[in-house]
């Protein structure tokens, strides 16, 4: 009788622990989603600053730490000058390909988010 009660309790405990792990996984997923949303906003902010001329289009291979709300994120920026031609085979100058990468530590792992866009700073 005691043995049966203990087995039943153990099964119940395993079920509850399983449920708790599910909730924990859900919370971790929610946290990851928030981090992802924050990273997207940090990249959007940076892209808008670049487009408005508040930041320079320069290569930053070593990256730098963001501050404020985005503390913990490291931003890498690379700028490639594109060599394009129009339909008349005339060179089109001044178009840049900008690659932004944001890297952060997420729950023992490494989170990252990338954004690529094209810019024409001479049109500012």
């Amino acid at each position: 009788m005691l043995f049966e009660a203990m087995v039943a309790t153990a099964i119940f405990a395993i079920a509850v622990i399983g449920l708790a792990r599910c909730v924990e996984a859900g919370l971790t997923a929610g946290l990851a989603q928030r981090e992802d949303s924050r990273a997207r906003r940090a990249l959007l902010n940076w892209m808008r600053e670049l487009q408005a001329g508040s930041q320079a289009y320069s290569n930053m291979p070593l990256g730098f730490e963001l501050r404020g709300e985005f503390t913990g994120f490291r931003l890498y920026q690379s700028v490639i000058t594109l060599e394009l031609e129009d339909q008349n085979k005339q060179k089109v100058d001044g178009i840049l390909e900008v690659n932004l990468e944001l890297v952060w530590n997420a729950g023992g792992g490494r989170g990252s988010k990338r954004m690529k866009f094209y810019a024409c700073p001479s049109a500012l």
């Binding site: 009788m1 005691l2 009660a5 203990m6 309790t9 153990a10 119940f12 405990a13 509850v16 622990i17 449920l19 708790a20 909730v23 924990e24 859900g26 919370l27 929610g30 946290l31 928030r34 949303s37 906003r41 959007l44 902010n45 808008r48 600053e49 487009q51 408005a52 001329g53 508040s54 404020g68 709300e69 985005f70 503390t71 500012l124």
Partner: protein
Amino acid sequence: MRAHQRSNRTFSPKVDGARGQQALGFFQPSTLASFPHLRAARLGFTILEIMVGVGVVGLVLITMYRLVASQLQALQVSREAQAQSAAMDGLASYLQGVLAGLPVRQVDCLRGIPHVFGLAPADEIQWLGRPGLSLLTSAAAEADYAVTLTIQPSTTNSRQQELGIRRRLVTEVDSAYEWIRLMPDIAALEFRYFHPSIGAWLERWDDANSRPALVRMKVWRRANEEPYEVVLPVPSHKIQ
């Protein structure tokens, strides 16, 4: 006595002597029939076994309760954080919509005024608008309105501040505004304006003939926390 005889027909424990019969007398025969191995000397649990069993079950239940309670608390915190984040994103979308919808040809349609309330920034951004998104209603009379996004104390003499918009007809005096609360419990609000010609961020915008290229908004829920930060473009700054 008749009942005892009937029970003996269904179960006949092999016990020796009158003392054995007496010891089995309080057991229901049907119960004992299920446990043939208990027909011998041992017929139940000791009080120590029951106490240990109940103790183990109790410990397991307490641990599970704590686990579930902490998970529920974490779930609640996560839900609140998500709601706050969604509210901030909604505010940013609203301001983005307002900045995108600024009348192209109108002068002096955007102003930024810095303020400090209790050592924390409590800035204002003011724009001219018509009924629609910028007023948060399309039911108002068709006219020009001055709308100000800012924070102010929830009640008179209150330390709690709330974020909202003040809206009034341009022709009315400053104090004749209607307050629309958008978010409760806001500690501070800061706006900065990027001037494309100067190439610098300004804390005040009072240039009637031009518009900033960017508006940066920071909202603090609590003074000791990092603010929500968003940079919003002003599309019409080039068309002037």
